[in-house]
């Protein structure tokens, strides 16, 4: 049985990765399982300089999911390179760094530093809904996405994946911008912008008022978008949005994802990611699937 895939030029032993912002830089989860079992780890969104993040409350539960407004708190790329990357490199898994910036220059500067590091790829975050500048501000028009991606493409020497926001009218147009700018892959979806109100206080629960919705609540939206994007572009898709088990993962792959990410699912059980790998293998065994590639994009529409 083959579960190996080459995603956008990155070799992975299986299609299961962990999504940015739900796995830190791996340390905490290494107490629960061998990180080498994962296809890849996508790091917490990392910026040029440290970021302190938003005021609390930053998270709250919603129906079959949660809202977050962390605000990209992270220690900055220098700290990451010195402290986290050497730790992550001890494991036999693909390391993909999620990067965020508030200006194009910042993304470019950051990518120049990443070129010097021993990493397998870069995921360009054009989709965080919780920061005022950058990110989603670039990510919701064809022109914006194409401009940032092209400028980053010129400097970055690693496989480049661009993470899309679902908070747009036409996701395929945005995905085409990524492809037209020469990126190697596209990942979707980031969180959906949402809000929860405390009816006793008559105020939003999150200090930032709005936040990104994740978890199984958003899965049908994510599956639909992955399917649409798969019809529109040739570059591979890293699918995510509410995956908590193998069945969910298979659904995304049938829709057209070549690999998947576990996000909020990491919060309900520390082993959701590796349990998902085992469940995918079970599905393959039961359905006599020799190679994982056999299911990618194989949904038959009515």
């Amino acid at each position: 049985m083959n579960t190996k895939i080459n995603f956008a030029g990155i070799e992975m032993k299986n299609p299961v990765t962990v999504a940015s912002g739900t796995f830190g830089y791996g340390r905490e989860f290494s107490n629960f399982f061998d990180l080498s079992k994962l296809g890849g780890i996508i790091t917490k969104g990392t910026s040029l300089k440290p970021k302190s993040g938003n005021k609390p409350p930053r998270v709250c539960e919603t129906a079959s999911g949660m809202l977050n407004s962390i605000g990209l708190q992270n220690p900055g790329v220098e700290y990451f390179a010195e402290n986290d990357l050497p730790f992550l490199r001890k494991f036999d898994t693909a390391i993909i760094v999620n990067v965020c910036g508030s200006t194009i220059d910042e993304y470019v500067e950051l990518c120049k530093i990443l070129n010097t590091l021993d990493i397998d790829g870069v995921e360009l975050n054009l989709s965080c809904p919780n920061v005022k500048a950058g990110c989603m501000a670039f990510g919701n028009t064809y022109e914006g996405v194409k401009e940032v991606t092209s400028k980053v493409r010129k400097v970055i020497e690693k496989p480049l994946i661009v993470k899309l926001t679902p908070n747009v009218t036409n996701i395929t147009e945005i995905a085409k911008a990524v492809e037209d700018a020469g990126a190697d892959g596209v990942s979707l979806i980031n969180t959906l912008l949402g809000m929860k109100i405390d009816i006793n206080k008559r105020k939003p629960v999150l200090a930032n008022n709005t936040g990104g919705l994740s978890g199984p609540a958003i899965k049908p939206v994510a599956v639909r978008m992955v399917y649409q994007v798969a019809q529109a572009v040739k570059i591979p898709i890293l699918g995510m949005g509410g995956i908590v088990n193998g069945e969910d993962a298979i659904e995304f792959m049938l829709a057209g994802a070549s690999a998947i990410s576990i996000g909020a699912g990491n919060f309900i059980s520390p082993t959701t990611s590796i349990d998902t790998i085992a469940q995918i293998e079970d599905y393959m065994r039961k359905n006599n699937i020799e190679d994982i590639h056999e299911i990618i994009g194989k949904v038959e529409m009515n």
Binding site: G21, T22, F23, G24, E28, F29, N31, F32, K44, S52, G53, N54, K55, P56, P57, R58, V59, C60, E61, T62, A63, S64, G65, M66, N68, I70, Q73, V205, G215, P216, V244, A264, N266, F267, I268, S269, P270, T271
Partner: protein, 263 residues
């Protein structure tokens, strides 16, 4: 180090209105658990409710590998948890938090709690008492019906003062006033607090006025409990509008030096 286990519920006891004490077999957790730490419970295998419930540890029985926690039935998560029966398995992640209560350098402890914030203070009092510390406890409740664990706290203290806001039981007034008096009489060299935010703010202020070291246990909405989601942020005292600085309840806490945090 935290572990994720399915722990058998061996005893279930109602200790107050909508308040349940659960005793579970959890040697893997009690072996390393420290006073002040907490656990996160996944109340069912479903995706609804989605997140784990953070709950403080009430008692760590290392010898028998039994962990006890108390929770109030407040929403759908704790409602489901309250339906568990003796013999059922409970999915527990813990012990969590890297900042436990640290009392070894002190002799005359002032432990103050309010409402459901009293639960994590029992293990603290018990541990300190077993090391021959002078343990003074001040517990405040809204009214007589909500007074819980009086005998239990009596058993692990040299002095126990209970207050109710409305005077329907024990002393009328606020627990902090009795703590303050004992500080002024030189009976207290350290403060440990857990309870509602207004109480914690008042305790922090009192500790600063009297120049007494003070540790407080905080809570904040959280998701992972492990230090990766960065949800449970607490502003540090050094934080400014231009340069905000946050720590996290599950990582630096849940117990903090009161002077280090801006609550």
């Amino acid at each position: 180090m935290p572990v994720n286990i399915k722990a058998e519920l061996i005893q279930k006891q109602e200790i107050g209105p909508e308040m349940l004490k659960y005793s579970v077999k959890a040697k893997e957790i009690t072996d390393t658990a420290k006073t002040g730490q907490f656990i996160e419970i996944r109340v069912n295998d479903d995706i609804e409710p989605f997140l784990r419930r953070p709950i403080s540890i009430y008692n760590i029985d290392k010898e028998n590998g039994i962990l006890e926690f108390i929770f109030q039935i407040k929403g759908k998560g704790t409602e489901i948890l309250s339906k568990k029966r003796e013999g059922d398995k409970i999915d527990i992640l813990g012990p969590l938090g890297f900042g436990p209560f640290k009392y070894s350098n002190y002799q005359k402890l002032g432990i103050i709690g309010g409402g459901i914030g009293v639960f994590p203070l029992y293990e603290l009092a018990k541990s300190a008492k077993s090391e021959n510390k002078n343990v003074n406890i001040y517990l405040g409740f809204r009214n007589k019906d909500l007074v819980v664990l009086e005998d239990e706290f009596k058993g692990v203290s040299d002095k126990l003062k209970i207050t109710t806001d409305d005077g329907s039981y024990a002393e009328k007034g606020f627990a902090i006033d009795f703590l303050k008096k004992d500080i002024e009489d030189g009976k207290i060299d350290s403060i440990f607090a857990c309870g509602p935010l207004p109480m914690l703010r008042a305790v922090k202020q009192l500790a600063e006025e009297k120049e007494i070291p003070c540790q407080i246990s905080l809570e904040e909405r959280m998701a992972c409990g492990l230090g990766v989601c960065l949800g449970c942020a607490v502003k540090t005292s050094k934080s400014t509008a231009e340069n905000p600085e946050y720590w996290h309840v599950c990582k630096a806490g849940p117990v903090f030096q009161a002077k280090d945090v801006d609550i």
